[in-house]
Subunit: 151 residues, 2 copies
DNA sequence: CAAATATAATTTGACTATCAAAGTAATTGG
DNA sequence: CCAATTACTTTGATAGTCAAATTATATTTG
């Protein structure tokens, strides 16, 4: 099998299943009541004191309506708090609860482990190669995006 | 920023958005009436003469009920044909129509372009490095899977 | 061979994630 | 001060998914 074919095969499999795989990994652990989507919202809210709904919706790339229901559920599950801003009462600020911060850290660790596994046995030159490839993939999608009118 | 952080940042972004990105790319082209999920079913059926429903469901990692409705839609859209096996009348065989094969090839080309972009400017040693890294990532997930009882 | 069991697929009922559009409440700019 | 804008929520719809019930057929077994 050529290098091209090998790379294609692994990339296709990783890309097609990555969210699924990540969700399955999530379900093994302590935060099994979170979907991968919810974990990504938690990841995006992050450890910063507070964020607005609209900033978060934009960052997670969902409509604000979608985020409202997602946050409703995360509040029910005890991961997020919501309060109305007193400066501008249209604005809603959200932040992670203590449990939310624990979930955030757990997810962060998962990614750190992944990267450590990915980079193991690579010397710094090889790490540079990987970064070049990932940047190329990034640019491939940006280029396609451009035609889709996304940039 | 360290190499670890850079790799983490790009991987997280790619993994979190990859299906979304691929779907958006799909919507630019000729096969805009297909979702990325449907394209992956088409990809899995492939160019081989015929497949059973159960084999396909297993490969795509959905229940057979889910596949039934997916195939219903793909038939409506003209990408897939379905017939009952005459050897075993419980079995349903599916295969791509001519339009289905065109969609398949278009998707294949997309992946080929992606890999070509990814590998551009790499010499063969560097390609080997990439394969090593991708294999590491693959194994990281396999290892996690094992604990989840997936293997 | 007839009945019980197993298999392949479909149907049903439920749930999550999503969007667009309509609605509500608050702020801002003329 | 009121028209337009902004921030968010609600509503109604769709896609994708599963588990469990159902249907049809095949296989096993007493």
């Amino acid at each position: 099998m050529s290098n091209h074919e090998t790379v294609n095969e692994i990339l296709v499999r990783l890309f097609a299943n990555i969210l699924d795989i990540e969700e399955k990994c999530l379900k093994i652990g302590e935060f099994a009541d979170l979907s991968i989507t919810e974990m990504h919202v938690i990841d995006n809210i992050g450890l910063t004191s507070e964020r607005t709904m609209s900033d978060t919706a934009k960052a997670v790339k969902v409509t604000s309506g979608t985020l409202t229901t997602a946050i409703d559920n995360l509040i029910k599950k005890g991961y997020v708090e919501r309060r109305r801003s007193s400066e501008d009462r249209r604005v809603v600020k959200i932040r992670l609860t203590e449990r939310g911060r624990e979930a955030y850290k757990s997810h962060e660790d998962f990614h750190k482990d992944l990267v450590t596994s990915a980079l193991q046995q690579l010397n710094s030159h090889e790490e540079e190669v990987l970064i070049k490839v990932l940047t190329n993939i990034d640019e491939f999608f940006s280029e396609k995006y451009k035609y889709a009118g996304w940039y």
